[in-house]
Amino acid sequence: MGDSTEITPRELFERLVTRGETPPILDVRNEDEFAAWKIEGIRPLAHLNVPYFGFIDEPERSAEQVARAGDNWIAVCAKGDSSAFVAEILRERGMRAVNLVGGMEAWGNLHVPVRVDDGSRGFELWQIDRYGKGCLSYALLAGGQAIIVDASRHLEVYETFLRERRARVVQVLDTHVHADHLSGGAELARRAGAPFFVATGAGVDLRRAVRPLVDGTELTLGGGAGGAAVTVRVIATPGHTPGSMCYLVDGRWLLSGDTIFVSGIGRPDLGGQVEVWGRALFRTLHEGPLSALPDDVVVLPAHFASPTELDRRGVVERRLGDIRAASPELALPTEAAFVEAMRRAVKAPPDVYGKIIAANLSPADVPDEQASEWELGKNQCAASVPAAPRG
């Protein structure tokens, strides 16, 4: 980067996550936007919030305020233009400052593929980390074929990734109808000529073409010309949504959607029926096929709430047994206690979630600008209850 005046989202990701650095962040958005969503590293970051209009009114005073707090800044705003203006003001005064290209919007759209498996099984499992939003999607590759799970609307991410690996999509799966981001699954499948699957549950109308799958179905990928084959088992896990499904890869990795996270579980209130969906989630966690999976299964969720959930390799994963042992959500003894705890654990979801759900059920395209605006901010899909007192 050297003397550069800019840093790309990918370069910032390398610094914050790959190298664990803690550069000071100068966020020049207004206070409300800053309070709602900010850049996070795997270690805590020092942020300074000085809105850009302060640099228009009183550039000297604002620059001095920044100088007193430190140097070597990464300047951030909503879309990258105001922060470029501020970084230049700082550099003119002898400070070091680089601008995050594209701002928080670009930060929220960065997708970074991270390999999950160790390469010994003849197939590849990748977690595609949309780090700024805390959204995770997956690519499973074997014998030139690919299954994509929970694709975002940024299809170029998946298509480039697959082209580089000479793989073609044969199946696209969503774990459920997402509320926090727009699904790219149906469109990715259409462009690849592959089937798409998501289940809504009874009483909700999905206006997109799907090839239905049911609990227990096994999909097989690869296996041609002596290559390794890998199976994916469909597991029905109603609760976060009535149609939620998990996908068990090779009997070992559970793509768990928003049913179980590394810490916390998927909130059952987004349909406005916390009682009914909460009871279904309790049964999924304690009685359904998910509850019969062995402790050695590794959970790969659709979200993380904090970058501390990334392990040393940068993967968000955890043994099911460890989650079972540590999660207060799974220790609640009765349906009634569980539903009550869920009710208390969740705040009202962002208003825009209703619009995103409707758009994900509909075949109509959402214009890019609208989609970007709806998707701003980190996901709020988890419910976490405080740990029970020990002893």
Binding site: E31, F53, I56, D81
Partner: protein, 80 residues
Amino acid sequence: MEKILDARGLKCPMPIAKAKKELESLGAQDVLKVLATDKGSVLDMQGWAKANKRINLIKQETETDESGREIYVHYLARLS
């Protein structure tokens, strides 16, 4: 007197940078009507008026122009 500042199509920080300049040339009784297409201008104008004691944000409205574009309209005056 009401003066119109057409900041449609401009990105941050331009709507506020231009509004500040215009307000300096207006009298205390005048109103500056700023037209912007950047939705971020709604919260930013509020934050600006809160931080700058010499700016009065009188009201904000949303309109739709001929092409169906959302226009964010801000009415500003000087306090001094």
